[in-house]
């Protein structure tokens, strides 16, 4: 059991509380009749009143801010029960994984039959770590366990915040988890950012554009090593993710990702969930560089005294 997993579980288990706190503080004081009426209407989950987002100086919806999801999809993007985590004998409730509702629209992931078998094998071997000095190191084990870059869209539902830095030509997404970084190229015909990915990468090669007030990001050029969750859901290097970010209130982005990979699925499928603006006074990202927390797990077999 690594500190990395432990910490993320801790954050996950706090998540429901944080959501409650946020919604309760958002109710305006009921002074006038109008605001009293507004306050009296309890928000319906999944529904947002019509909203026109503020725009940046160059006239685009303003996504700047620190955002975080509160789903439990990192454990399983499909519906799942709470479960004991690894080593409950010493980890107790610290190591237990919460249950939660999935984020997959329609509930099912349209795996090809052989791919479904691989997903199951992945899940069984999610904690089998065998580090070699070549690509075989990626054959088994959840990349999250090994503190590898989480890929897309998993980075957006890890239990860690990320910050959007939005400029005209590039939108940066900086993740607290392992200082993962995405550059979204926004400029058309950018000579520094060719349309086709020059190479494969963990976070992919992303071009974005606006459709009305929705930020649409098209990402390809992925390595085949990232997973979508601890349940072994996976993709190949043919993965193509189309994301849609829409500001639906001052405090929420509705996030949607369409996932295509003809090597693995019979048809495209979709996940969706809200992202919440982190509102703590002076909120900022800090470091979660889990690399230092996984060294013994990864390289222990090569240590002078492997058992110690």
């Amino acid at each position: 059991m690594t500190k990395a997993v432990l910490l993320s579980l801790f954050v996950l288990s706090c998540a429901p509380l944080a959501v409650q706190a946020q919604t309760s503080t958002q109710q305006p004081p009921a002074r006038s009749a109008a605001s009293a009426a507004a306050a009296a209407k309890i928000p319906t989950p999944g529904e947002f009143p019509p909203y026109k987002p503020p725009h940046t100086g160059d006239g685009k919806p303003d996504f700047n801010g620190i955002w975080q999801s509160f789903v439990t999809a990192d454990i399983d993007i499909q519906d799942h029960d709470a479960q004991a985590g690894p080593h409950p004998d010493i980890m107790g409730a610290y190591g237990a994984w919460p249950g939660g509702q999935g984020i997959v629209e329609g509930g099912e992931i349209p795996y090809k039959p052989e791919a479904l078998a691989k997903k199951k094998a992945n899940a069984e071997k999610r904690m089998v770590v065998n580090i070699t000095s070549d690509d075989r190191r990626h054959d088994t084990g959840d990349p999250e366990l090994k503190c590898y870059r989480p890929g897309v869209p998993r980075a957006n539902y890890l239990p860690f915040p990320f910050q959007i830095i939005q400029s005209t030509d590039n939108i940066m997404m900086v993740y607290e988890f392992e200082h993962t970084l995405r550059t979204i190229f926004m400029k058309e015909n950018d000579k520094e950012a060719p349309k086709e990915p020059p190479a494969d990468s963990w976070m992919g090669w992303s071009h974005g554009h606006f459709e009305g007030d929705t930020l649409v990001i098209d990402t390809t050029g992925f390595v085949p090593y990232t997973w979508f969750d601890r349940a072994g859901d996976f993709h190949s290097d043919a993965l193509h993710v189309i994301e849609r970010y829409t500001l639906v209130s001052p405090y929420h982005i509705m996030y949607e990702a369409t996932i295509e990979d003809p090597n693995v699925y019979t048809r495209p499928w979709k996940v969706s969930f809200p992202l919440y603006r982190r509102m703590e006074k002076n909120v900022q990202l800090v470091d979660f560089d889990c690399v230092e927390f996984v060294e013994k797990m990864l390289y222990g077999p090569y240590y002078k005294n492997p058992g110690k």
Partner: protein
């Protein structure tokens, strides 16, 4: 396609080693060789200077955005031969620039047998990462005026000496020196993919590249090394308490005229510039865009428990072409495996040898 990104892991050990050797030392080891490179010269840039207007972001900040390199052939401290001279003549500056470029070519194409992995062409890089412009300064250090980093305090000198004696694997000058690699913590922070340092922004032998993006109220600086980022809020946010420590410290920025001033503290013990005291180190950086292709980058290091007085240096940041690619490091850290496995193999070989001798 993994090969492209394998540069990080394959070249990492060497990369970490070379980083410790400022480019200028390498550059000056082989003087007098004519440059094959078509070097950019200072005069090539001067016509555009006249008409240049400082660009601004949509929210009105001076625009520092884009890809920049801190590569430099200027030594950190002023060589004795220049005495109190702060600036080179144009001819001297051009000559040093030519030599630096020449060395970059040699470094790439005539690599030592010990470092066969850094053939830049394998990774589709150009032979030298162009963009760097001649620098007329005789040293990066500009204050104190003698161009030398001030003396260490007696306590800091003691700490540094102890670190030198106990610090593992720092003797890159001798590739045959024994390597202590019992556990991952024996490797250096770069080999462990934990941090490649900074602030301040300094020239390294390669990969000295940066991407600056400005959002409303924020400046982000991405370092090519490991895609490490610093997010600098500009809105007067209170400093962090001493309860939080960060690999690159924690930065707060503001504009003074057209200069971005960034103050950084909250460093992590063991991950500070030149081994300074994480508790007392404060680094102040000044970014001023002086033309389309240049940011004048000045930094002041203030740590009364390490240096007898504060000191400052100026590193010109030169425009370069993007993009900066993903730099996967821990994901394919073959060096950690190979260094540790190599140390075990060495131990086994020594044991075998000892056995044979005792059997004789």
């Amino acid at each position: 396609m993994g090969n492209r990104f394998g540069v990080s892991s394959n070249a990492l050990m060497i990369g970490a080693a070379v980083l410790l050797l400022p480019a200028f030392i390498l550059a000056q080891t082989k003087p007098g060789v004519a440059a094959k490179a078509d070097a950019k010269t200072a005069s090539a840039k001067s016509p555009e200077k006249k008409a240049w207007v400082l660009p601004r972001t949509p929210d009105g900040q001076p625009n520092l955005q884009g890809y920049w390199t801190s590569l430099s052939f200027t030594p950190m401290e002023r060589p004795a031969k220049y005495g109190n001279r702060e600036f080179l003549t144009d001819e001297e500056a051009a000559e040093i620039h030519k030599e630096g470029i020449q060395h970059s070519y040699e470094f790439t194409f005539n690599d030592l047998a010990e470092t066969p992995v850094y053939d830049a062409t394998v990774y589709a890089l150009s032979a030298w990462q162009e963009g760097v412009a001649p620098n007329k300064r005789t040293s990066l250090v500009v204050d104190p005026p003698d161009g030398k980093i001030p003396a260490l305090t007696p306590e800091a000198a003691k700490v540094r000496e102890a670190a030198r004696r106990h610090g593992p694997n720092q003797d890159y000058a001798d590739p045959n020196a024994p390597v202590k690699a019992d556990v991952a913590e024996d490797l250096n922070l770069g080999e462990r993919c934990l941090s490649f340092g900074g602030p301040p922004i300094l020239p390294g032998a390669y990969n000295s590249n940066f991407f600056i993006v400005q959002g409303a109220g924020y400046v982000m600086v991405e370092y090519e090394w490991n895609n490490e980022t610093r997010i600098i809020p500009l809105d007067g946010q209170a400093p962090l308490s001493q309860g939080i420590h960060r690999w690159h410290g924690n930065s707060r920025g503001h504009w003074e005229g057209n200069t971005l001033v960034v103050e950084t503290s909250n460093f992590r013990p063991g991950a500070t510039f030149q081994g300074a005291n994480a508790k007392t180190l404060k680094i102040t950086e000044y970014f001023t865009r002086t033309d389309q292709n240049t940011i004048e980058y000045k930094f002041t290091v203030d740590d009364p428990s390490t240096w007898t007085k504060p000191w400052s240096a100026i590193v010109p940041l030169s425009h370069m072409d993007g993009p900066i690619f993903e730099y996967d490091c821990s994901e394919n850290n073959n060096d950690a495996v190979n260094i540790l496995a190599g140390a075990r193999a060495t131990e086994r070989a020594a044991e075998e040898k000892a056995k044979k001798i005792s059997q004789k």
